[in-house]
C-alpha cells in the first residue's frame, strides 16, 4: 500500500534535517532592515531620524514634481498587411541547429518573436518544445551576437570580406575543409555541394559534439548502411534503455518524449526498464530502474545478449562472469515475451556495444516493428574517422582553409583543433554569436539567428521541414548559405535558394500538391510536409563481428582507479551549445534540482564515508579535485540518490568562454579530457577542504507532509501500480483520516457535503436567481487544470515556457541559492524507497487557485482575492509586500521580488548611480550585486522578448501563477468577437502549449465537455493536501507504475 511509503524531497528531508517551513523568510526585507537599524540602533540619534525623514520627504517631493514624460506613438509608414498592433501572429518555423530539430510555432507581437509553442502539426516533435530550444529564443536578443562582419577581429563590410575570402580560397591549392555539425538542411548541403564544385579540393566534414559514430559505424557493419534508424517508441510495449537518456538528451529527446508520452497514458501504458549508472530523466521515469556502474553498462548489454541468445537458440559470446546482476534475467524474460513489440537502445558510443545491441534487436524481431532501418534519421551524421583524418591533415599543413559552420570546434575539440588550426592559413567562421572559436577566425561572417533566417531540414526520410524568419535581421548579418555561395562567387537570395531546393528535391517526390508554389506555400505554413523518398533497396541484418565486439566491450569495461567518472549529457544543458543562455541556466536540472552550477554527482553513502557531506543550511558543498589522465577537474560534489557507490558523474557543456557575462561561463569544460568513444574514466580524487555554495532548489519551497496525525500523514504525491489500478481505478487515491487511510471518494462524501444538505424546494423558491448555494459554482466559467502524473516526465519545458510567457525574471546563481528564485511553476522531485535506487515522482506545482485560499484571508490590503471565475487573483499594484500570503500558502508557490530584477522601477537600467543603491541593503552582505542585474532582462535589446500583455513586476511585490490570465481573457474575447460559445481548447496555458507528453489539460471545469472536467472526474484525480479544505483548482491524476512484483526487491 502506498501508505507505507515515505516520500522525501532529498537526503536532508529523508534524514529529517530540514526545519519546518516556519522559517521561510529568514531574510529581513533589505530596505526594512536598513531603515530599522538606522532608526532603532542604540546609537541612533536625532540626526539619524532627521536624515531618514529628510531623505523620504525630498524623495517624495522629487518624485511628485517630475513632469509627465512626453510619450511618442509612432505608426508604421507603410503598415505590413498581416500586422495589427496588439494582436499576435503565429508562424510555423523550426529550430534547426547542430543536428537538432524542433518544429515550433513562433508567437510574434509587432514583428518581435516573444514565445515559442509546440507545433502540433509536426509529425516529429508533435506539440513539444525542448527547454533548450525555448531558451534559444533569448539568444536572438543576446548582447553577445556578432553585429558586423569582421576581418581579424575588426568590423568590415561584406563586400571586402567576401572578395578577400574568395581570392584567398582561389589562391590555395591545398585542401579546403568545411567543418560543420550534422547538417540536416538540404539547402545547406546543396550550397556545400555547389561550393565544392567551384573548389574541387573541398572536403565537407561533419562532427557531433557528443558523438553518435558508434551507432552509425555499427549499422554500417550490421546493415551495410551508415545511418541511424527511426525508433518507434509508440509501438513498443517494452522499452529497455541501456544508459540512453532518450527523454533527456539521447538523439532526439523531444520527438521521443512525444511518442513515449502517448504510451504513458494509463489506458495504453507500456513498460519501461532503464539500466544506467547516473540517474537521468529516462531512469527517473522508468517503471524499473536497474543501477549499474558505468563500467558495467556495456557488460549488461553483453549479458542481455547472451540471455536472449539462449532463448533464441543462437550462439552466445564470451562474457565477463564476474559481473553479476540477477535483474537482467527478468529483463531478458520480459523482452523475450514482448518479442516484436519491444525496443532495446543503448547510449554507448562504442561501436562494439552497438553491434551487440543490433543483434539483440534482431533476435527480438524488432526491426520492421519498432525500429525502421529503411527510414533513416539524419539528425546525427558525424564521422569521427573523417574528423581525425582532417585534423591530421591540418597538422601536416595540407589544409589551406577551414570554414566553420554551425559548430564551435575550439570548445568541442579543444586543443586538438586549436593546435591543428595554427597550421591553417585561412580560418573563416560563420557563427552567429561570439564563442570560443570566433577569436581565432581570420574572417567572421555572422550568420542570422535561426528566427531571422530561411532554412529547411530533412530530419528523417519522408519529412521535409522549412524554417521561416519571424523578424527582420537585427544586425548586419547574412545567412550562412549566402556566405558560402558568395565564397563560391555567386550572390544568392536565401529565400529563393531554399525555395529552389524545395522545388528541386521535394516536388517530384510527393503528389499532395499540384504545383511547386502550392507545395512551398503549404510547407511554410504548416512547417512540415511528407514526401516519399526515392526507392532504395531494403537492407537486411547481417550478424558479423560479434566475438570481436564482445572482446572489445570487455576490454573497455576494465576501469581501474579510485573512482570511476562518467561523463554524461544532462537534459537541460546538452552539449553546451546553449549553455551561455540565462533561461536555460536558471532552470533547475530535473534530477538534481540545481540551477546555474556544474558539479560532481556521487553516491550518498560514498559522500558520507568520505566526509564530504555538505552543509544544508548555507548550501556549502565540499569541493573535490578529480584527476583523469593527469588533467584536473575541480568542482563541488553533490550526493545524489541513485548513483552507484564509487562513481562520480559530471556533465558536459559548462566552462564556456567568450560569453557576455561571467556568470554564464561557470564550471569547467570536460571536452579537453573527453574521448569520443569512451564515457567512463578511471580517476583519483582529492579534497582540500574548500567549499562552494551551490544554487540548489531541492529543499526550497517544500510542502509540509506533516498533517494533524503527526509525521508524514499527508500524501502529496500519490501512486499505485498498474495491477492494482486494473482492479480498482481509485487505487492509491487515499486520504488520511483519524490516522487511518481511506479512499478519497469516501472522504469527499463525508466532508464535502453541502451546508444546506439535500436540495430544499422551499429554499430554492426563496432564492432570487433560483440557485442553491452550489449554483454559484456551477454557472459561468470555473477555470481548472489537471496534471497527469503518469505522463509528466519532468523535463522542465513548462517551467521555461512559463517564465517566457509571464516575464518571470532571471535572478542569477546567488539569488537562487538564497531561495529567491522566481519560478511560478516548479517541478518537485519526490523520492521513495532505497537511497541507492529510489523511485522518483515528478510533480509540477504552481498556484493551485484554491477556492478557499489561505493566502486571500491574510492580505491586509486585499491585493490577492478571488474572481468569479475561480481564479486566485494577484494584483501587483496593490501589493505592499508584507509576504503574509506567501507565508500562509501551504503550497509555497508565491514568489517575492526581493530586488528590482527586471528594471521595472522607474529608474533607468543604465543608471550606474541609482541601481547599486536600490539593490544593496544597508548591511551590504545581502546585496544583489550590481553586475548580476545585467543577467536579467535589463538590456534594451533583451527586453524585446518581454510579453507586452503582462506587467513587469517591480521590487517588493509578490507574484505567482495566474493560470495565464492574459490568455484566458484573450480566448474569451475572441469567442465574444466571433459570437460563439467558448469551446474546449480555445484557451491553453503556456505550460500546456509546450508539454511534449500532453500531461497538462486546462479549461472550464463547469463545462461537462472539456478534457479537464473529464480528468477531474477520473477516479485517479485528487487535490494536493485538500484535507485542509483549500479546494484547489488544480487536480493531479495518481501516478500508475507498470511495476511488477519483485521489481524493487533487493
Amino acid at each position: 500500500m502506498a501508505t507505507d511509503k515515505k516520500y522525501w524531497l532529498g537526503l536532508e528531508d529523508k534524514e529529517g534535517l530540514v526545519e519546518d517551513t516556519s522559517k521561510e523568510f529568514e531574510l529581513e526585507h533589505p530596505v526594512m532592515s536598513g531603515l530599522d537599524n538606522a532608526l532603532t540602533k542604540k546609537n541612533s540619534s536625532r540626526r539619524d531620524f532627521l536624515k531618514v525623514l529628510g531623505f523620504s520627504v525630498s524623495a517624495a517631493a522629487i518624485a511628485a514634481s517630475c513632469e509627465m514624460p512626453v510619450r511618442k506613438s509612432i505608426p508604421y509608414t507603410i503598415k505590413p498587411e498581416e500586422i495589427i498592433p496588439g494582436v499576435p501572429n503565429y508562424y510555423a518555423s523550426a529550430y534547426i541547429k547542430g543536428g537538432d530539430y524542433n518544429s515550433v510555432l513562433v508567437k510574434t507581437r509587432e514583428g518581435r518573436p516573444i514565445l515559442l509553442e509546440g507545433n502540433r502539426q509536426s509529425s516529429i516533435s508533435g506539440g513539444g518544445v525542448n527547454p533548450k530550444v525555448m531558451g534559444s529564443l533569448l539568444s536572438l536578443y543576446d548582447a553577445n551576437r556578432i553585429k558586423e562582419p569582421r576581418i581579424a577581429g575588426k568590423n568590415a563590410d561584406w563586400n571586402t570580406v567576401y572578395s578577400e575570402v574568395k581570392s584567398k580560397l582561389e589562391a590555395t591549392s591545398n585542401k579546403i575543409a568545411v567543418l560543420t555539425s550534422t547538417i540536416i538542411s538540404p539547402s545547406a548541403k546543396r550550397a556545400i555541394k555547389m561550393f565544392s564544385e567551384k573548389y574541387p579540393t573541398t572536403e565537407h566534414v561533419q562532427f557531433d559534439a557528443i558523438s553518435y559514430a558508434g551507432i552509425l559505424d555499427a549499422n554500417q557493419e550490421s546493415f551495410g548502411k551508415r545511418t541511424i534508424p527511426t525508433y518507434n517508441f509508440e509501438a513498443a510495449d517494452l522499452i529497455v534503455g541501456l544508459s540512453a537518456d532518450f527523454l533527456g538528451s539521447w538523439l532526439n529527446p523531444t520527438a521521443f518524449s512525444v511518442a513515449y508520452g502517448k504510451r504513458r497514458k494509463v489506458d495504453k501504458l507500456n513498460r519501461h526498464i532503464q539500466i544506467e549508472s547516473i540517474p537521468t530523466l529516462s531512469g527517473s521515469n522508468a517503471d524499473l530502474r536497474i543501477p549499474v556502474k558505468p563500467s558495467e553498462e556495456d557488460l549488461a548489454v553483453l549479458r542481455l545478449h547472451n540471455l536472449i541468445a539462449k532463448k533464441a537458440g543462437q550462439a552466445t559470446i564470451s562474457d565477463d562472469s564476474t559481473f553479476k546482476n540477477e535483474k537482467l534475467e527478468t529483463v531478458a524474460n520480459e523482452l523475450w515475451a514482448a518479442k516484436g513489440k519491444s525496443l532495446v537502445i543503448s547510449g554507448s558510443n562504442n561501436k562494439a556495444t552497438q553491434v551487440i545491441v543490433n543483434t539483440i534487436n534482431a533476435m527480438l524481431a524488432n526491426y520492421g516493428a519498432t525500429i525502421d532501418m529503411n527510414t533513416a534519421c539524419y539528425t546525427k551524421q558525424g564521422d569521427d574517422t573523417k574528423l581525425n583524418a582532417l585534423l591530421a591533415d591540418m597538422n601536416a599543413g595540407n589544409v589551406g582553409a577551414v570554414i566553420v559552420m554551425d559548430t564551435n570546434p575550439v570548445y568541442f575539440l579543444a586543443d586538438k583543433f586549436v593546435n591543428a588550426a595554427k597550421k591553417v592559413a585561412l580560418k573563416v567562421d560563420l557563427s552567429e554569436r561570439n564563442n570560443e572559436t570566433t577569436p581565432m577566425a581570420d574572417y567572421c561572417c555572422p550568420n542570422h539567428h535561426y528566427l531571422e533566417a530561411w532554412n529547411d531540414a530533412i530530419p528523417q526520410d519522408g519529412i521535409y521541414a522549412t524554417a521561416q524568419p519571424t523578424i527582420a535581421p537585427l544586425y548586419n548579418t547574412r545567412n550562412a548559405l549566402q556566405s558560402l555561395m558568395a565564397f563560391a562567387g555567386t550572390e544568392v537570395d536565401e529565400y529563393d535558394f531554399v525555395k529552389e531546393t524545395c522545388s528541386q528535391e521535394i516536388f517530384a517526390n510527393q503528389n499532395e500538391y499540384g504545383s511547386k508554389d502550392l507545395l512551398w506555400t503549404n510547407t511554410v505554413h504548416n512547417g512540415e510536409v511528407s514526401f516519399t523518398k526515392p526507392e532504395e533497396e531494403a537492407v537486411s541484418f547481417a550478424m558479423t563481428g560479434l566475438s570481436a565486439a564482445s572482446a572489445e566491450v570487455m576490454k573497455a569495461s576494465k576501469v581501474g582507479g579510485d573512482v570511476q567518472v562518467k561523463f554524461y549529457e544532462n537534459s537541460k544543458i546538452g552539449d553546451g551549445s546553449l549553455s551561455d543562455n540565462p533561461w536555460v541556466l536558471e532552470l533547475a536540472d530535473p534530477i538534481t534540482r540545481i540551477a546555474w552550477d556544474q558539479y560532481f554527482v556521487a553516491n550518498p553513502t560514498w559522500v558520507k564515508e568520505n566526509g564530504l557531506i555538505h552543509n544544508h543550511k548555507n548550501k556549502d558543498y565540499e569541493v573535490i579535485t578529480v584527476t583523469i589522465d593527469g588533467k584536473e577537474i575541480t568542482l563541488p560534489v553533490v550526493a545524489l540518490p541513485g548513483v552507484p557507490n564509487g562513481v562520480l558523474g559530471v556533465c558536459y557543456g559548462f566552462g564556456r568562454k567568450n560569453v557576455s557575462h561571467n556568470d554564464l561561463g561557470r564550471g569547467t569544460s570536460i571536452y579537453p579530457i573527453a574521448k569520443t568513444n569512451v564515457s567512463v574514466y578511471p580517476a583519483s580524487w582529492s579534497h582540500e577542504g574548500s567549499k562552494y555554495k551551490v544554487a540548489v532548489m531541492q529543499q526550497e519551497h517544500r510542502l509540509e507532509h506533516k498533517g494533524l496525525g503527526g509525521e508524514k500523514t499527508r500524501l502529496i504525491v500519490k501512486e499505485t501500480t498498474l495491477d492494482e489500478y486494473k482492479v480498482n481505478a481509485a487505487a492509491g487515491n487515499l486520504m488520511n483520516e483519524g490516522l487511518g487511510w481511506t479512499p478519497r471518494q469516501k472522504w469527499v462524501d463525508k466532508h464535502m457535503t453541502s451546508l444546506y444538505g439535500e436540495e430544499n424546494p422551499e429554499r430554492e423558491k426563496s432564492q432570487e436567481y433560483g440557485g442553491a448555494h452550489l449554483e454559484q459554482l456551477t454557472r459561468g466559467h470555473h477555470w481548472g487544470m489537471a496534471i497527469d502524473l503518469n505522463s509528466c516526465i519532468g523535463c522542465g519545458a513548462c517551467v521555461v515556457a512559463c517564465n517566457v510567457e509571464n516575464n518571470v525574471p532571471i535572478v542569477g546563481q546567488n539569488e537562487v541559492r538564497r531561495a529567491h528564485d522566481m519560478n511560478w511553476l516548479r517541478i518537485d522531485k519526490y523520492h521513495t524507497g532505497e537511497e541507492d535506487n529510489p523511485k522518483v515522482v515528478f510533480q509540477p506545482l504552481m498556484c493551485q487557485h484554491c477556492d478557499n485560499a489561505p493566502c486571500e484571508n491574510v492580505c491586509p490590503v486585499a491585493a490577492t482575492n478571488h474572481s468569479s471565475e475561480g481564479l486566485n487573483q494577484m494584483t501587483y499594484n496593490r501589493c505592499i509586500g508584507t509576504r503574509y500570503c506567501a507565508n500562509n500558502c501551504p503550497y509555497k508557490v508565491r514568489r517575492f521580488n526581493w530586488f528590482d530584477y527586471q528594471g521595472a522601477d522607474s529608474w533607468s537600467a543604465d543608471d550606474e548611480f541609482i541601481l547599486p543603491i536600490l539593490n544593496n541593503d544597508f548591511d551590504g552582505d545581502q546585496s544583489f550585486a550590481s553586475d548580476e542585474h545585467k543577467l536579467g532582462l535589463h538590456d534594451s535589446m533583451a527586453r524585446m522578448v518581454l510579453n507586452p500583455d503582462v506587467t513587469v513586476r517591480g521590487r517588493g511585490v509578490i507574484e505567482k501563477c495566474s493560470f495565464c490570465v492574459q490568455r484566458i481573457q484573450l480566448g474569451k474575447l475572441e469567442a465574444k468577437k466571433g459570437n460563439k460559445a467558448l469551446a474546449d481548447g480555445d484557451i491553453s496555458t503556456a505550460c500546456q502549449s509546450v508539454c511534449p507528453t500532453n500531461a497538462i489539460s486546462f479549461g472550464d471545469t463547469n463545462n461537462d465537455e472539456t478534457a479537464v472536467r473529464k480528468a477531474w472526474e477520473d477516479p485517479r484525480a485528487y487535490g494536493v493536501i485538500e484535507e485542509i479544505h483549500t479546494l484547489p483548482s488544480v487536480r493531479y491524476l495518481v501516478k500508475v507504475r507498470n511495476e511488477k512484483n519483485g521489481d524493487y526487491n533487493a
Binding site: 509612432i74 505608426p75 507603410i78 436567481y769 492574459q966
Partner: protein
C-alpha cells in the same frame, strides 16, 4: 421672474436654481445673431445632405477644392438673373445637378465658373429640387445652426452641482460675516452695558487665544492639508485635458466632424485588438493623394504626409529614395508649398514650416501619445468597441468637434469602474448562451451590467 426666484429659493428647489442660473446666463449672451426666424428642420436636413454630397469639396465659409458657398443663391441672382426664360434659381439647380447644362446653354456666369481651379465639379443628378433647396438654405444659414448647437451643448454640459456649490459657498460666507458682525456687536453692547453698570472690567482672553480655537484651527488646517495632499497624490500622473502639440496640425473636427469619416476607417485595429492604432501613413494617402490642400493650413501640413512617405506631389509619383538628393527633395516641397502663396485665406508659410516638412522626409511620423494608461493596466479596445459596442465618444469625448485632440476622460480607475457598474451587457452574444444564471438575472431585472459578469474584479484589467 422675481416671483419665480422667490419661489425657487423658498423651496430650495435645485431645478429652480439651475434654471435661474441658466436664465441669467442665457440673457447675457445673444443666441441668434441672424434676423428673422430660421427653419431649423430645413437647416438640419440641408446639413445632412451637404455632408453627404458636397462636403468633400465645399465649405460654406471658405474656398476649398470648390469655392465657398455662402451667398451663392444671391450671387447667381445678381450675376445671372433671368436668362433665356429661366430664373437664376433654376439655372443654379441645373448647375448643381450637372454643371454642363448651363454651360452648354451659354449662361455667361456658368461659362466663367467652369474654369474654377483646381478641379472640375462632380455631377449630382440624383438631387431633387427640394433637396437642393435644403442644401442652399443650409449653406446660407450654417452658422445659425452652429450657434444654436453651442447653446444646446452648454445646456448639456452644465454641471448643476457647481452652481449650487457657488451659491451655497456664497451663503455660508455671508452668514459667517453676519455671525461675526453680530458677535462683535453683542460683545460691544455687553461691554457698554458692563461699563455702564460700573462693575470693574475684567480683561478677557481674546477668542483667538483660547484652546478651543487653536485646536479648531489646527484640525482644519490639518484636514485641508491632508485632503489636498491626498487628492493631489491620487491625481498624480493623470492627464485629463492633456492637449499636446502634434507634429501635423491634423484636425479631427474636419475629418471626423465635417466630413464624417468613420473613426474605424483610420483606427482599424480598435476593432481587432488591444490598441487603437494611429493610422499608418499609407492610409492617409488613400485620400490625400487627391486632396493636396487643406482649408485652413493649405499645403504645408499635408506636405508632411508626403514627406514622411516619400511622395512627390508635383509629379504624383513616389521618390526613388536611393537616387534622390536632399536638395531635390527640398526643392520639390518648397515649390509645392509655394503654391499657397497667392491664396490670401492661408497664412503664409514661414521658414520654419518649410524646415519642418523637409525634416520629416522618409521618417515615420512621431505623434505625441495623448491617452496613457499606467503599465500595470491592461486595456483592450476590441473588448469595448467590437464586443461592447461602446461609442468612441463615450471615452474620448466629442472628437468630431476637436481641432486638436485632448484627453477627455480622467482615465482613472474610479472612472472605469463607474462605467462598468452602469453599462449593460448584451447577453444576445452566443458566448453567453450557456450562462444560465446571467440569463435568469436578465429575465428578473432586465439588466445585467459589466460588474455582474465580473467586470470589477482585479484581474480583468491588472495582470
Amino acid at each position: 421672474m422675481t416671483l419665480n426666484w422667490i419661489k425657487a429659493s423658498k423651496q430650495l428647489n435645485i431645478k429652480g436654481l439651475i434654471l435661474l442660473a441658466l436664465a441669467v446666463f442665457s440673457f447675457t449672451q445673444p443666441v441668434f445673431s441672424q434676423e428673422g426666424i430660421i427653419d431649423t428642420a430645413l437647416v438640419i436636413q440641408g446639413k445632412e445632405l451637404f455632408k453627404g454630397n458636397c462636403a468633400a469639396c465645399h465649405n460654406a465659409k471658405k474656398d476649398m477644392t470648390g469655392p465657398k458657398l455662402e451667398g451663392v443663391s444671391a450671387k447667381w441672382a445678381t450675376e445671372v438673373g433671368d436668362f433665356e426664360g429661366k430664373s437664376s434659381e433654376e439655372w443654379l439647380y441645373d448647375w448643381i445637378r450637372n454643371w454642363k447644362t448651363p454651360v452648354d446653354a451659354g449662361v455667361p456666369y456658368a461659362v466663367e465658373m467652369q474654369n474654377y481651379d483646381p478641379s472640375v465639379m462632380q455631377t449630382n443628378l440624383g438631387l431633387a429640387d427640394e433637396e437642393i433647396k435644403a442644401i442652399l438654405y443650409y449653406v446660407d444659414n450654417s452658422e445659425a445652426l452652429n450657434k444654436q448647437t453651442v447653446v444646446v451643448d452648454n445646456l448639456d454640459a452644465e454641471d448643476p452641482t457647481s452652481n449650487i456649490n457657488w451659491l451655497l459657498g456664497f451663503l455660508i460666507v455671508a452668514l459667517l460675516i453676519a455671525a461675526l458682525a453680530l458677535a462683535k456687536i453683542t460683545k460691544t453692547l455687553n461691554r457698554a452695558a458692563v461699563s455702564k453698570s460700573g462693575v470693574a472690567e475684567t480683561e478677557g482672553k481674546p477668542f483667538f487665544k483660547s484652546g478651543f480655537f487653536k485646536t479648531l484651527v489646527t484640525v482644519i488646517i490639518a484636514a485641508l492639508v491632508i485632503y489636498l495632499l491626498a487628492s493631489q497624490a491620487i491625481s498624480l500622473g493623470r492627464q485629463q485635458g492633456y492637449q499636446p502639440m502634434q507634429p501635423i496640425k491634423y484636425s479631427h473636427a474636419l475629418h471626423a466632424g465635417e466630413y464624417a469619416i468613420d473613426c474605424k476607417y483610420c483606427h482599424t485595429a480598435a476593432v481587432e485588438g488591444k490598441h487603437s492604432n494611429i493610422p499608418s501613413t499609407n492610409v492617409c494617402m488613400n485620400c490625400h493623394k487627391m486632396i493636396q490642400s487643406g482649408p485652413k493650413h493649405g499645403r504645408k501640413e499635408i506636405a508632411k504626409i508626403y514627406a514622411a512617405i516619400g511622395y512627390n506631389p508635383l509629379q504624383g509619383t513616389y521618390f526613388d529614395k536611393e537616387n534622390t538628393s536632399a536638395k531635390e527633395v527640398e526643392e520639390v516641397f518648397t515649390k509645392f508649398i509655394d503654391q499657397d502663396k497667392d491664396n490670401k485665406e492661408i497664412k503664409a508659410a514661414t521658414a520654419q514650416d518649410y524646415k519642418n516638412v523637409i525634416e520629416m522626409y522618409d521618417k515615420p511620423i512621431e505623434w505625441v501619445r495623448i491617452h496613457n494608461l499606467p503599465d500595470h493596466v491592461y486595456f483592450n479596445h476590441a473588448q469595448h468597441v467590437n464586443v461592447g459596442k461602446v461609442e468612441c465618444q463615450t471615452c474620448h469625448g466629442n472628437i468630431q468637434d476637436m481641432e486638436v485632440v485632448e484627453q477627455h476622460s480622467p482615465l482613472s480607475m474610479g472612472w472605469c469602474i463607474n462605467c462598468h457598474r452602469n453599462t449593460e451587457v448584451d447577453l444576445g452574444n452566443e458566448y453567453y448562451k450557456d450562462f444560465d444564471k446571467l440569463q435568469k438575472m436578465k429575465e428578473l431585472h432586465n439588466s445585467v451590467t459589466v460588474e455582474d459578469i465580473g467586470g470589477t474584479e482585479c484581474q480583468k484589467c491588472h495582470y
